[in-house]
Symmetry: C2
Subunit: 401 residues, 2 copies
């Protein structure tokens, strides 16, 4: 079997952790597998390097920042290769460009164009464990690029896709994907399996386990992923196209506190209002979600939507002039909201899933501000003070105590 294993910065933060990773990797190798390991920079390395750069030039070019930051993985891959060697197993480290990562030229947020796994394959043929620097590649000018947030997850999936690996394991500090945040909801259970689409909706809904880019790529190339802990040796959660039929209508309940609700109230009911509102928000490069348009009592219209909380002021600023010009009654921004989402492919075939969520919230006496949904997700906005209680109530409804 060919297994790609990815370890984040906290999993290799010091000598002890590097050796722990080496043991996981060599145990997989001992079982007869070919193993490619993708690692991020150690713990705080990236932050330390950014600090060094800012001391010298707070506006250093992205090309030079990528040159600087990619040194971080260079350090971690060589240390991990040495750790594997110290356990008596053959290993070789490869930088992004040595491992065949070709990217576009968008420094700091480059996209992988192609992975040419020739060198990796040659090293595997020599029975070596191959340790690859995540997060980095090379553009057509032979310059180093980095992939941006969650880049190492994407690197791992890209290798798995290019080499048709049997499994791509993403090791993190959690044991897998849960039906709700296990630190907050006592009944939260670890899922055995979840589909790509469900995982994507979970991530977008506030459950930050996997980076969306990596899941999208895994879905596109049908790479089976597994999320698991680098500290506890237990099975994690598999992410794949089709999951076993389980008696679960939904896979999880997620909460996102980093949203704000913006509303323009009492606008005259003219055609093209929605277009005018959202084109202004889009121009400010703000992502909009949970759109709700309703007819007010006096024939006017209200439009409400959510934006990332950090963009709330900008969204209001982008709309202020327009709201005044059309004589809207009010332009409001509500930051004390939580978005509660349920996610599950089961919704596609069961009509009453959403109703179950509303029932649970009503029983808990929690008011719903707005509702939005996709094929496999239903999200509601509630007062932030009710957020945790809402998750509990909905989780209990679907999963029991």
């Amino acid at each position: 079997m060919l297994v790609v294993q990815k370890f984040g910065g906290s999993s290799v933060k010091d000598a002890e952790h590097v050796l722990n990773v080496a043991r996981i990797v060599t145990d997989t190798y001992k079982e007869g597998n070919d193993v490619v390991v993708v690692v991020s920079a150690q713990g705080d390395t990236t932050d330390d390097l950014i600090e060094k750069a800012e001391e010298i030039n707070p506006r250093g070019s992205k090309r030079e920042m990528d040159m600087l930051l990619s040194a971080g993985e260079q350090i971690s891959i060589s240390l991990l290769a040495m750790a594997i060697d110290s356990l008596g197993f053959p290993a070789i480290s490869l930088l992004g460009w040595q491992a065949g990562f070709e990217t576009n030229s968008k420094y700091s947020t480059a996209r992988i164009k192609r992975v040419n796994p020739e060198r990796i394959r040659a090293e595997l043929d020599k029975k070596r464990i191959v340790v690859v620097a995540g997060f980095q590649g090379l553009n057509k000018y032979d310059d180093i690029t980095t992939l941006g947030r969650g880049g190492s997850d994407t690197s791992a999936v890209a290798i798995a896709a290019a080499m048709r690996a049997d499994l791509c394991q993403i090791y993190t500090d959690v044991e897998g994907v849960y039906t709700a945040d296990p630190r907050k909801v006592s009944g939260a259970r670890k899922l055995e399996e979840i589909t790509y689409n469900e995982m994507l909706e979970m991530a977008t809904s506030g459950a930050q386990v996997l980076n969306n880019r990596s899941v999208e790529m895994a879905k596109k190339y049908n790479v089976e992923m597994e999320v698991l802990s680098s500290l506890k040796r237990v099975a994690g959660t598999k992410v794949k196209e089709v999951t076993k039929v389980e008696k679960m209508l939904i896979k999880g309940v997620a909460k996102d506190d980093s949203v704000a609700r913006v509303a323009i109230v009492g606008m005259p009911d003219n055609p093209g209002i929605a277009f005018k509102v959202f084109s202004r928000v889009a121009k400010a490069h703000i992502c909009v979600d949970n759109i709700l348009q309703s007819i007010g009592r006096d024939g006017t219209k209200d439009i409400a939507f959510t934006v990332p909380a950090k963009d709330a002021e900008d969204a209001v600023a982008a709309l202020k002039e327009y709201a005044e010009a059309v004589g809207a009654k009010d332009l409001v921004c509500e930051k004390d909201v939580s978005k509660i989402s349920i996610v599950g492919a089961g919704m596609e075939t069961h009509e009453n899933v959403a109703a179950g969520m509303f029932e649970a919230l009503a029983d808990a006496n929690i008011n719903i501000q707005t509702i939005s949904s996709s094929e496999i997700r239903v999200s509601v906005l509630v007062d932030k003070k009710d957020g945790d209680r809402a998750v509990e109530a909905v989780h209990r409804h679907f999963f029991g105590e």
Copy 2:
């Protein structure tokens, strides 16, 4: 003019020093020159990385150590490029392989086979200051190698040679090459110029200003070098093929305290003794200098030579069995010695230079243990306690107060 400037680790140890280097570089650029800058890793970076490796695997492979250590220059070149940018000048950093350094595969002590300066030239054509990672290259397997001690000096000279640069400036923490160590000899003067051969003999004699490999390469390709300080803006010492006629018989007096004298006393006078002695020492990979063979009073022979002090015990161990087998009277090792050398091309045409040295030492009542010489160097061994006095006396004889 095309100028190559090299800065060592202490010259770029922190943000302040990096910005100082950026000012030197941009001042050279402002004068209308094309500038290629070669930098080492910052201050203690290399030591820190070695420590990290040793914590994990004290016997990490040299290939992985080179992967690890070469991250050091990657950090310093990007920081320097950002510093130059912050002063308002265009700069680009290049790793060893991007700058065209092809080496053999001897990890940790690789030799440069070729420098292909195509990319550097293209960047210079764009009017950029090119910042190159010293100390590193790429072998035919596309793996990163490092050049070993003094590697960045060699990198700088190799670029200067490949591009036929007009000058290769090596910035250090001293202001140039002196007639003697200026911290110890009050009358020591900075030399305006010195020949390659003189510089090589000076370095071998204990004056650690430039790495010999870089001077040998500069000599071979006739690259004019200059040794100067990164902290004081004053002219340094030029190293070149022919120096101006100066009324100086010698260029300097050097002292090397890191030698030991080994002697086998009272060996029977059989043919092939020297061969047998030195083949044994060579087998132990120990470099030998100042060989002296003399005939003892009773028809036996004595052989004495110097070795690096750190190898003294090994040299004695390598000879112990043999000395006993041939019935030598004694095998002694004297560590309390200093090697005092005078260096100067003037010796080639003036017979009495060596005599002047011996006279100065005799006047100071300092006993000479052994003498050795090359065309442009005379070295003597004296008691270590007399070392500083010997340098003073010889320096005074040739250079006055």
